[in-house]
């Protein structure tokens, strides 16, 4: 069967950038830098990019392009016994998409709310009571929140429409969804830096505190930020690269992806902290009182800051629309890229037409994601997100680097990607893949494991952590990866 192909190199690079640059660039990186030494955080961040981010993304591109398979098929070509780790990566992504679509559903609600200024009066009340209609805890599902359910349906329809023709349709969509959030972010940045107090906010983001570099947790945070921001460990980059001809460039494509992704994060940092600086000054509070990350930043603090903008309700609605359109366009290509990684893996294994596999896989993920549209959705999202990020993705990245570094000849893979690339990597890449990357990922894993064993994550009751974490994520990943890897597929039939 003819493999799906990108229409050209630019389509692939844009799709890879779109996948890497997601909601985390806007809501995780700025706070991560601010809380880890400000501008000084850039040093461990760049070191982490060089020693783990770039070597791993090159590894994923090379595996996909060389084997012309998604993650499970690519690892199975190294050794049949490794296929399960590929399924582990893809299934981790599957779980993430199911709730990532839920976050995008909230963004649709806020985008619509920009016309009525529903969130402008009290964003916190709007978020928890109007959008989420939040219940008292994870045990109180309380039925669906209709606004979230509608947003979820819209998100999945959009994802299916984008993916239904595979690389051909994705290649066209990313021409819009990658430059658009950058353009919107630039608009927000210019508005932010012209506000009173903005420079004070940006100063908090960038003023270096080099003393913090002696703190191990700062380095752990830098490696974790780099690992998550590049969409590593999902099998996405392997699947996307498998749609490129085997003689296409690898190293320069990876470098463009890395620089563009980190450039977007940095731009977001300026826009976010400029706006927070203005908010802090307007409210007469220190920046530490308004600085936050994640869901709280995107759906409570930032909308509150926008509602304080001078110029009346049109200006507030306009910048609200720009901000949520930016979040949606940032998030959509990350979301569909994870789905595509799963579709590629399923098609490689059992065949089927692109449309059919995409349709059924999307419906399956929509149904799984219904949990996050309930009134307890935020609690479950918090629990599942913690376990799948901490253990699902990190284990997948660790497995990839150990399998290639120790069970496959890294010189052979390096010889391959050097032979097709515009830049060349020396034997330092082998050292990174064999030693540095696995060691740092083990440190990340052990660090989180100690924290999780010592305290119950988020203060949730243990039974919910078992349903949504230890059992629902880790147990499920173990069992499902094992079962899927034991099934006979098309490649076995060829043999």
């Amino acid at each position: 069967m003819q493999r799906d192909r990108w229409s050209n190199r630019a389509a692939f690079v844009l799709a890879a950038i779109g996948s890497a640059a997601g909601l985390g660039n806007a809501w995780r990186f700025p706070y991560m830098a601010y809380s880890n030494g400000g501008g000084a955080f850039l040093i461990p961040y760049f070191v982490a990019l060089l020693t783990a981010g770039i070597p791993l993304i090159v590894l994923e591109f090379a595996m996909g392009q060389k084997t012309q398979r998604g993650a499970p098929g690519a690892l199975a070509k190294v050794g049949r016994k490794f296929e399960g780790f590929g399924w582990w990566a893809v299934l981790s992504g599957t779980i993430i998409t199911s709730y990532y679509a839920g976050v995008m559903a909230w963004a649709w609600d806020y985008l619509a709310g920009s016309f009525t200024l529903g969130w402008a009066e009290n964003a916190s009340d709007y978020f928890y009571n109007s959008v989420l209609k939040i219940s008292s805890g994870p045990g109180q599902l309380g039925g669906f929140s209709i606004p979230v359910l509608i947003g979820l349906v819209i998100t999945w329809i959009v994802i299916y429409l984008i993916l239904r023709k595979g690389a051909e349709s994705v290649g066209k969509v990313v021409l819009i969804t990658v430059p658009l959030p950058v353009l919107l972010m630039i608009i927000l940045m210019f508005r932010a830096v012209t506000l009173p107090g903005a420079m004070e906010g940006i100063n908090y983001f960038l003023e270096p505190n080099f003393a913090m570099l002696t703190n191990l947790s700062v380095w752990i945070d830098a490696y974790s930020q780099v690992f998550f921001t590049l969409s590593l460990g999902f099998g996405i980059m392997i699947a996307y690269a498998s749609y490129m001809p085997e003689d296409s460039d690898i190293i320069n494509n990876a470098l463009i992806t890395v620089f563009a992704n980190s450039g977007i994060s940095f731009l977001a940092g300026i826009a976010v902290f400029g706006t927070l600086g203005y908010m802090a000054q307007t409210q007469g509070v220190p920046i530490s009182e308004v600085a936050t990350a994640g869901v709280g930043l995107a759906f409570v603090v930032y909308p509150n800051a926008i509602s304080l903008l001078p110029g009346g309700s049109f200006v507030v609605g306009f910048f609200g629309f720009v901000f949520f359109a930016m979040l949606l366009s940032l998030g959509i290509d990350s979301a569909f890229s994870i789905v595509e990684a799963g579709v590629a893996a399923l098609k490689d294994k059992w065949g089927g037409t692109k449309r059919t596999v995409t349709l059924f896989y999307s419906i399956f993920l929509f149904v799984v994601g219904l949990l996050f549209a309930t009134r307890a959705g935020l609690y479950w999202l918090d629990i599942v997100d913690h376990y799948v990020n901490t253990y699902g993705l990190v284990v997948a990245g660790l497995a990839e680097s150990i399998i290639i570094g120790w069970y496959y000849d890294p010189d052979e893979l390096r010889g391959y990607f050097n032979s097709v690339s515009e830049y060349q990597f020396g034997s330092w890449w082998n050292v990174m893949i064999k030693y540095v990357t696995p060691i740092m990922l083990v440190v990340l894993l052990v660090n989180e494991l100690i924290a999780d064993i010592g305290t119950q994550y988020g203060g949730y009751e243990l039974k919910y952590l078992i349903y949504g974490g230890w059992g629902g994520v880790i147990g499920l990943l173990l069992v499902a990866s094992f079962i899927l890897s034991r099934q006979r597929g098309l490649d076995d039939a060829e043999v």
Partner: protein
């Protein structure tokens, strides 16, 4: 903004956007060569 914050701003811009510029130029040049 403090002087050290400005230095970090310039440092980040040079590394990130300078790196992006150099890698993109290389890709464009190699495409022209292929044509």
């Amino acid at each position: 903004m403090s002087g050290s914050a400005v230095v970090m701003l310039i440092f980040a811009c040079v590394v990130l956007y300078g790196g992006l510029f150099v890698t993109l130029r290389k890709a464009i040049k190699s495409r022209k060569k292929e044509d």
